[in-house]
Symmetry: C3
Amino acid sequence: MQQVFHEISLKTDGQGFYNFTEKTLGWLNKQKITNGILNINILHTSASLIIQENADKDVLYDLKNFFDKLAPMDNKLYKHITEGKDDMPAHIKSALTNNHLTLSFKNKKLILGTWQGLYLFEHRLNKHTRILSHHLIGD
Amino acid sequence: MQQVFHEISLKTDGQGFYNFTEKTLGWLNKQKITNGILNINILHTSASLIIQENADKDVLYDLKNFFDKLAPMDNKLYKHITEGKDDMPAHIKSALTNNHLTLSFKNKKLILGTWQGLYLFEHRLNKHTRILSHHLIGD
Amino acid sequence: MQQVFHEISLKTDGQGFYNFTEKTLGWLNKQKITNGILNINILHTSASLIIQENADKDVLYDLKNFFDKLAPMDNKLYKHITEGKDDMPAHIKSALTNNHLTLSFKNKKLILGTWQGLYLFEHRLNKHTRILSHHLIGD
């Protein structure tokens, strides 16, 4: 059994979805493991991870809109307002989506559906650098 | 260490919950691995996975009703409407639940609570065939 | 490859967040595994797991408030009411958060962001004992 660790760093420039599938595949391609589990963790609580459709961009537009309405940027709703009107909604959206994705890797290929892409879901308005821990265990 | 991969295919006939626990256990029983991690991924973005109560069916009724109200089938709410009024709500419900379940397998038994069952949560109205990737790693 | 299993039992006294990070780290510190995957499963469907901010307690206050408003304790909304007005909202909140957390363990350290803590999110009003299955696989 082998294990390899890696960090992918993503620069974000405002709220929305950032597709990192190719970055993950690029790293996987260089590893000597043929089959295994890939565990991806985001090391932040105001941005999250999501597997979603990679075809029609309107899906991502509607998704963002849904979450914005569900957890509005309205300071009257929250006690935690010192870090900006976008911070508490960011924690809520993170709680509703994923801190981590666990995927299977078979014959050097990541098991994903045809229409599935890996996305960072950024919930903050300002620029951020987000660290995604990658861990592959297998043989 | 050993690894085995499998696909379970489920035919769905409209929105709702489909219990696949027995199918997963049936496959696990045939494997030569005693302890390990089981990773289950659904290869679609308009249906999802969920662990929920397997006793009172009213729980599933109320859950479905909750999600239907939270993400209504109302085209006025969405830009992505070309695939039907149920498609964008399906993506939202998938984002709010799980694309994958990661479970522990100990002494040939899947670690689950007494009242926990594994469910496919179908969000589309029409018939679909859903592929659930199963991956067991252990020894 | 080695595998170790453990159960952490948490007594809860009403709805809210219970930080169990130190209990998990205390157990990990005693294991002989240096690198691996840690899989944590909660064996209940009316309490859940969440990774959230461990700094400002107002974040947890606002999160609890958000989920209470999203899934109100109002029997008129639900069919499943025999176990109390808090039970169906508990199942909904569990469906919206996590049954399991999958984390990476590297050089004897759990990979977590600086501000991330591991929480049990209790959704029931009365006292409960919650079992969290821990499973570490690695070498």
